[in-house]
Symmetry: C2
């Protein structure tokens, strides 16, 4: 096995120039899914991928949806190991503001970043074309050396991840039989620093709510009514400004029910990577973790539920001053949830808290904005252990399980539609500027990313 | 004296039809000071008033300022009593939204309001053309009957009260010698109900401040940072939502230093007029006084300092939801002040309170918005007593001293520039809709207003 693997890794190294060439070809296609004028480019990217996969021996097809098409490919000839479903997306974010790009976003360029890393600059370099190509090039190296993949592989590449992705779930459900596998592999995440490989095993969910308070029937003059008429902005501030206690803990009853502390071994790994909060907060101009006392910044983001006010509005917001005592005030609030928390119960607890603090003259209107649960990969499954081992071997550093403070909808969708757990493996860096001008992807991320997948596939093929 | 007075009052009654005709003529001039296209109309209103005053025997002139002109008139032939300076303003508010007016705002119309009162509907009917004409028509009746005023009278009518009034103070200072008198009479206030005449003896001042909090260096994704990065909206809410204690009292140190309780006799008068808060709050859809416990709604507005949040803004305020963790949040805050409070000390106390609640990662920027002291007329002066008696005689109801929750800048300005105390006497009603569509002034307000001034002038003439 080792010899077989080493041959494939050597092929990756030999073929890197050509691999980069193919990535650049894909990056040149401006497949911006949110902009209708790029619909043809989205289809071109799908077609390009279909051809690459077909050339590798996959049964590959471009499949229609009500939006941009999907690429589906299968190679079920191998007989050993589990059957994996790889997921990626070929669409990219819009590029505005154009003036902030140093080079054409769709003319990929090799350059060196300030820290000396060699990087590929282009829209989609990291999110997600560079990442998805690490997997395809790993498959290519296996095929080149051994004329076969080590395990059964299906590939699903969508074109609407950056623009709502409403067609993915129906497509998964409609094609559940065809897309069934043993585990999903998703390459859309990152590493906690330059040297430590990682698998994302926890994602936070989200429940959002909009709250509007009304007191008087119309805006009043603060001279004629100030003091006597209830001020809805002040009331909103008092309610929303006291959701956490002085230690940063959310005071809603039962808020932490079901929340699991991260395992001490995992916390120790995180502490080793982030010995202080400055590594996390310094780049955004902050120094102190603002959430619950007793948790580091990384723990607060990866493993603890949050409370945020995402927007607030009321009264006079323009230049100068108006002595208005407004009738209404509004805020948008959200809670990031960890596994074990029930979004609807959290919403109910929040609304009950607000209502319990309303004086008789105040009316409240709530508008829900989304509800999704947190997600966790069990730490003791064979796929996770195998993949961590493969990554550790490639990077010569112990791979870690990390969290992600945000949501990746496809994880919940493949679970619901196909019953699959996901392994989230990716090689992006925090400073890759995804969704921003001058998006980049390290050449090392790409090269060692391809090699990592070669090793993961080898590892999985050894499982029963 | 009584016979002399009764002759003048009878002349008022006889001449009411013509008095209304003159008021309508003034109301037809669209003297909107805030709109440059109406500059000529403002000048026409000033010229109209100059002519009326000159026809009455005043030495009257239209006087230039950097903005709209002033009207100044003097009649110093009488030898008895104090010399009064009457102040009013000929300019009016804009009329938008035009669609909400039932009649042309500058085509004054007599109609009946829902409660059966006969009212004059026009922009400026109450604020301030109707009110200032009560005084001029009172002078006219004295002149008609006795060929002379009972006391020396100077008149100052400005044209920028509704648009900042920045030229009044320089004008007062530049013409202080010419405008000197013993007391100022100002007709720009109202009555607490339909039947009780009043003199406004307390005005609240105002200190406004804008507060901007910044935490992170730029807007963040709430998934990547939510919990760990300080949320400036939440911080702003916590700070501004806890300025009052649970009893509605402002917690800033020394906030209530120097604040006088209203005299028990005055409170008793107020209680008689407003036996419950519903009279004050019911019309705006509220039922409970929201300020300090232990004070009625009217006491909270007329005699107690307030704390208001007049505007707040931060994060995403549009349709739908964004998972932004913003870098900044802003609020506009004001305190209405009563006599005894120092605006700058209150501002300092507020800023110190804010700063004392800032975590190390938060930066604050303050922008001042105005600072004026509260104002009180001494309750035992001879002019006040005389004027209250005159009003009581006219309305056959004991006249009361009332407060006003807002500011009337001219009161402080005539005090500072000319050394004059003011008597604020007016006949407007709370439902006159000043500054709003379908502004109105009761025919009774106008008629009994003229008669009231006839009596006030008679009363003042009897003083040494």
């Amino acid at each position: 096995m080792t010899e077989s693997l080493n041959q494939v890794l050597a092929q990756v190294d030999r073929g890197m120039e050509e691999s980069l060439g193919r990535l650049f070809a894909l990056l040149r296609i401006p497949s911006i899914s949110a902009q209708p004028k790029h619909a043809g480019d989205c289809r071109a990217a799908a077609e390009w991928l279909r051809k690459e996969l077909a050339d590798l021996g996959f049964e590959a097809s471009v499949r229609e949806t009500p939006g941009h098409p999907m690429v589906v490919a299968h190679d079920d000839k191998p007989s050993s190991g589990p059957h994996v479903l790889f997921y990626g997306h070929y669409d990219v974010q819009p590029t505005d503001p154009a003036s902030l790009w140093h080079t054409d976003p769709f003319a990929p360029t090799l350059t060196r970043s300030v820290d000396g890393r060699q990087v590929i600059v282009a829209r989609g370099a990291s999110d997600d074309k560079g990442q998805l190509m690490t997997f395809i090039e790993a498959c290519r190296a296996w095929k080149r050396v051994h004329k076969a993949l080590p395990i059964k592989i299906s590939v699903l590449i969508e074109g609407e991840e950056e623009s709502g992705g409403v067609n993915l779930m129906p497509f998964l459900k409609a094609n559940a039989q065809e897309l069934k596998a043993d585990v999903a592999l998703i390459c859309d995440t990152g590493m906690p620093n330059r040297t430590t490989p990682a698998i994302t095993t926890g994602l936070r969910g989200l429940v959002g709510d909009e709250i509007e308070l009304q007191c008087a029937s119309h805006d009043l003059h603060s001279g004629m009514y100030g003091n006597a008429a209830r001020n809805p902005i002040e009331l909103l501030c008092t309610i929303l400004g006291n959701v956490r206690d002085a230690t940063g803990r959310v005071k809603l009853p039962s808020f932490y029910d079901g929340v699991q502390e991260p395992a001490e071994t995992v916390r120790a790994q995180w502490r080793a990577i982030f010995p202080n909060d400055d590594l996390t907060l310094g780049p955004v101009g902050l120094s102190q973790a603002a959430g619950e006392q007793g948790y580091s910044a990384v723990e607060q983001v990866w493993a603890r539920p949050s409370y945020e006010i995402n927007g607030i509005s009321g009264g006079y917001e323009g230049e100068g001053f108006k002595t208005v005592l407004p009738a209404k005030a509004m805020a948008k609030v959200s809670f990031r949830l960890v596994p074990g928390q029930n979004p609807e119960k959290i919403r109910d607890a929040f609304r009950a808290y607000v209502k319990s603090h309303l004086p008789p003259d105040a009316k409240v209107t709530f508008t829900p904005h989304g509800a999704s649960s947190g997600f966790a990969v069990p730490q003791d499954g064979p796929y996770l252990k195998t993949a961590l081992k493969a990554l550790s071997d490639e990077w010569n550093t112990e791979a870690v399980s990390i969290g992600c403070g945000g949501s990746i909808p496809v994880v919940a969708e493949v679970k619901e539609a196909l019953g699959l757990d996901s392994l989230l493996i990716g090689f992006a860096q925090d400073d890759d500027r995804i969704h921003s001008p001058n998006e980049q992807y390290g050449v090392e991320s790409f090269h060692k990313g391809v090699r990592s997948w070669v090793r993961v596939l080898a590892g999985l093929s050894a499982l029963a």
